[in-house]
């Protein structure tokens, strides 16, 4: 009954929205012309002289990231980029950013350190000027690494890991440097007079930064509820993509968002996904401020402090996710897509509809392949990762066929009959799949797409499939498929698929000839 209500509401809401759309102007904030003013309630710690180094939470899982050596090294290398760029900017070497500094960072990204690097040691001049900022970055990076360590730790169940992630968040949030886990209005945060300066003037270096924000966010769905043994094989696909393409993309409309790259994780831990996005936005703000030659040193110091203030948890005490009443497009706008609490409000967003760079307008509440609303509860469907994106789909068939129409290797992570066993399928360039579960069997009785999550499913054993069939006699004549048989099927793009045809909000003007859809 709950499903009926939900579907009904979705339908009605959709119709309502359809009406709203007529004549609707593309939402988006105008760039502000004045520099933001210093708030009166700046936290005292920003002026504290201590180094205030914090140690991470002691636990047996620390440094479990090293169980995925290539991923660990790539993550360690990400510590170098911002540090080198910031050092160059504060030392008056901005003119070298796209050449010498880019080459230096790129060299490190290709020849990664085997251990984490001390960002402060790489950027000593920056640290002397902006030591308070480093406290925010360091603490958030610690959360980044420890959450990864928890997921990569082999000794615990998924439930233990999820509880520990919650404890880590509480550990993180207890410090004054903690970034808020509330969704923030990204359009607002990117609307200041200095905004977009860095990406405009230094597209290659910005590309590297956004490239490793891609890495820092794409990994969570690779790890979350995935058995430890099945994590490293996925990084073979993701790591190759990172090095070949993602680091060198200069045409992204906006930084990669956690919920775009790891929707399952962002749904489960929205506060952490939001904190990472807010952290990455702070990085962008700082890049833009430091890259503004018109600003004096004192103005830069002041604007960096204000940028920190905006995203601190202490600035948003007692505010709640989803709330925006009267505060739309402001610092205290905490709207999020209804179906994705781990995502702030994006330029042009309307409810669950948002522009995803490289994918076009997507509805986060619907299957990316068949456009039908995602199922509630179990099985929750699947995700498909290919060509740098990760999308939610309703069923295994949608996952396979979406991957099948996309060039390159792909990863499917899907629900099975067993809520504790995630199916991880990895395909080669030709769509030949390997499975993490030996003997996986599939049910696929092609029918109406709105019911695809019923007739396209994966089962960990034949017995489990037979049990399902006995409970659902409409499938009694359907032959169970092994992986090879299932992989050979392809029903193409479903007729229910609807592309949302609106212009790119980041590139105003007529609809682009290039891009816009999948």
């Amino acid at each position: 009954m709950k499903a009926i209500t939900l579907l009904g509401i979705t339908a009605i809401a959709s119709l309502g929205l359809a009406q709203d759309h007529s004549g609707h102007q593309m939402a988006g904030m105008k760039k502000q012309t004045e520099l933001p003013a210093m708030p009166r309630d700046m936290p005292a710690w920003l002026a504290a002289p201590g180094a205030d180094h914090l140690f991470y939470k002691a636990a047996p899982y620390n440094w479990a990231i090293n169980r995925i050596p290539k991923f660990a090294k790539d993550m360690y290398a990400t510590g170098v980029g911002h540090a080198m760029a910031y050092e160059a900017l504060v030392r008056g070497e901005a003119s070298t950013l796209e050449t010498k500094t880019f080459d230096t960072i790129n060299w490190v990204l290709k020849n990664q350190p085997a251990m984490p690097v001390d960002e402060g040691a790489i950027s000593p001049t920056f640290l002397r000027k902006y030591g308070y900022l480093e406290k925010v970055f360091d603490w958030a990076h610690t959360l980044h690494f420890q959450t990864i360590d928890v997921f990569a730790h082999p000794g615990w169940t998924d439930e233990q890991k999820e509880k520990e992630i919650e404890r880590l968040w509480a550990f993180y949030e207890a410090q004054p440097y903690a970034i808020t886990g509330l969704p923030m209005n990204m359009d607002y945060l990117d609307s200041f007079s200095y905004s977009m300066k860095f990406r405009t003037d230094y597209p290659k270096v910005n590309g590297l930064f956004w490239g490793y924000h891609w890495l820092q966010t794409v990994n969570y769905d690779m790890l979350y509820r995935v058995p430890v043994k099945d994590q490293a094989p996925q990084y073979e696909v993701l790591g190759a993509r990172y090095h070949e393409t993602e680091l060198y993309k200069t045409d992204r409309d906006f930084m990669p968002m956690t919920a775009e790259m790891s929707p399952r994780f962002a749904k489960r831990f929205p506060q952490i996904a939001n904190a990472f996005d807010n952290l990455h936005m702070l990085h962008d703000n700082v890049n833009d401020i430091l890259a503004q030659p018109q600003l004096t040193e004192a103005q830069k110091q002041e604007q960096v402090k204000i940028a920190i203030y905006r995203v601190l948890a202490t600035t948003h005490i007692s505010e709640t996710p989803g709330e925006s009443e009267g505060k739309e497009n402001s610092l205290h706008d905490h709207r999020h897509p209804p179906s994705m609490p781990g995502m702030g409000w994006m330029k042009g967003s309307e409810d669950d509809i948002m522009w995803m760079s490289g994918m076009g307008w997507m509805d986060m509440s619907a299957c990316s392949h068949c456009s039908i609303p995602m199922p509630e509860g179990n099985p929750w469907g699947a995700t498909v990762s290919a060509e740098g994106w990760t999308m939610m789909v309703r069923c295994l068939m949608c996952a396979r066929d979406m991957a099948g129409e996309t060039p390159g290797r792909a990863i499917i992570r899907a629900a099975t009959n067993d809520p504790n066993r995630l199916l991880v399928l990895i395909s080669d360039e030709e769509g030949n799949w390997t499975s993490n579960i030996d003997g996986i069997v599939f049910l696929e009785k092609y029918g109406e797409h709105p019911e695809c999550s019923g007739w396209s499913r994966a089962f960990t054993t034949l017995a489990a499939l037979e049990k399902y069939v006995s409970e659902n006699p409409e499938y009694k004549d359907t032959k169970p498929l092994n992986l090879a048989e299932w992989a050979a099927l392809n029903h193409g793009t479903p007729d229910t698929y609807r592309k949302i045809d609106k212009p790119n909000p980041y590139k105003p003007g007529p609809p682009p000839a290039k891009g816009g859809g999948r």
């Binding site: 002289p49 201590g50 180094a51 205030d52 180094h53 914090l54 140690f55 991470y56 002691a58 047996p60 620390n62 440094w63 090293n66 170098v80 080198m84 050092e87 030392r91 230096t104 060299w107 490190v108 020849n111 350190p113 085997a114 251990m115 984490p116 690097v117 001390d118 040691a121 790489i122 000593p124 001049t125 640290l127 002397r128 000027k129 030591g131």
Partner: protein
């Protein structure tokens, strides 16, 4: 038993943080500290072996173990044991137990140096030891160029119950230098060097001046290996010199 295994597991896995090759501690391997404490809540063990040679007697071997704890932001406490063995006397000495407190007052901000102080108390647990050895050290760290740093340590030492012919107060100073090696291509080792001058404990003896050179290298996210060599290059009024002092150490954080 299970608990023991868990604890040893924790220690072993620790052998695989937070000792930081950039964060320089006295004894590891040279005599100077930088002006930064270990991190809040960090725990660290530092192990070291040393060999002191002398002109007029046989070498002395030392084996120092120190435990540190990040008590609060910018503050740490430590306890250290350093049993020694004198080859000329052919006997060992359990040595004094040292308890220390470090307080980082400020980080380096713009052109102002980072400042800290530490207080160490040596308990008279060693052979023939009397009274307390107290040391107050003032520490300053400042950038020299982009990555290089200089560290100035000023010491005031006091013994509450000096022996016959021994000074109650002595003074010393160390000028340290550190430089990360390999930037911008590698980020795991730091060269350290120092010049120290220390007043002799013995009344009538003067000062000993020494130089040292060493390396701190990150071995894993939690461990740092260090190695150093020091030589007393001059002394006044006949103070005893050690021509060569070797130190090798290993620090683990968890």
């Amino acid at each position: 038993m299970r608990r023991l295994l868990l604890i040893s597991g924790l220690l072993l896995s620790s052998l695989a943080f937070a000792s930081d090759h950039n964060n320089i501690e006295a004894g590891r391997p040279l005599r100077f500290d930088d002006a930064y404490s270990i991190a809040f809540r960090e725990r660290a063990f530092e192990f070291g072996l040393s060999l002191d040679t002398f002109r007029r007697r046989g070498p002395t071997y030392g084996n120092k173990t120190e435990f540190k704890y990040g008590l609060a932001k910018n503050q740490d406490i430590s306890v250290a044991f350093e049993p020694t063995y004198s080859s000329s006397e052919r006997r060992g000495d359990i040595g004094n137990v040292e308890i220390g407190y470090f307080n980082g007052l400020r980080r380096e901000i713009d052109n102002s140096p980072a400042l800290a102080y530490r207080v160490d108390v040596g308990l008279p647990t060693g052979r023939g030891a009397k009274g307390l050895d107290l040391r107050f050290r003032g520490i300053a760290t400042k950038a020299l160029g982009q990555y290089d740093k200089v560290h100035l340590n000023l010491d005031l030492n006091m013994n509450t119950n000096p022996g016959p012919g021994e000074r109650r107060h002595t003074v010393g100073a160390v000028l340290g230098y550190s430089k990360p090696l390999g930037y911008p291509r590698r980020f795991d080792q730091t060269l350290v060097a120092d010049f120290a001058i220390q007043q002799s404990k013995n009344e009538g003896d003067g000062f000993v001046g020494s130089v040292g050179l060493g390396l701190r290298r990150q071995v894993s996210p939690r461990t740092v290996f260090d190695i150093g060599i020091t030589s007393d290059i001059f002394s006044t009024k006949g103070a005893e010199r050690s021509p060569v002092r070797f130190a090798i150490g290993y620090s683990v954080s968890f």
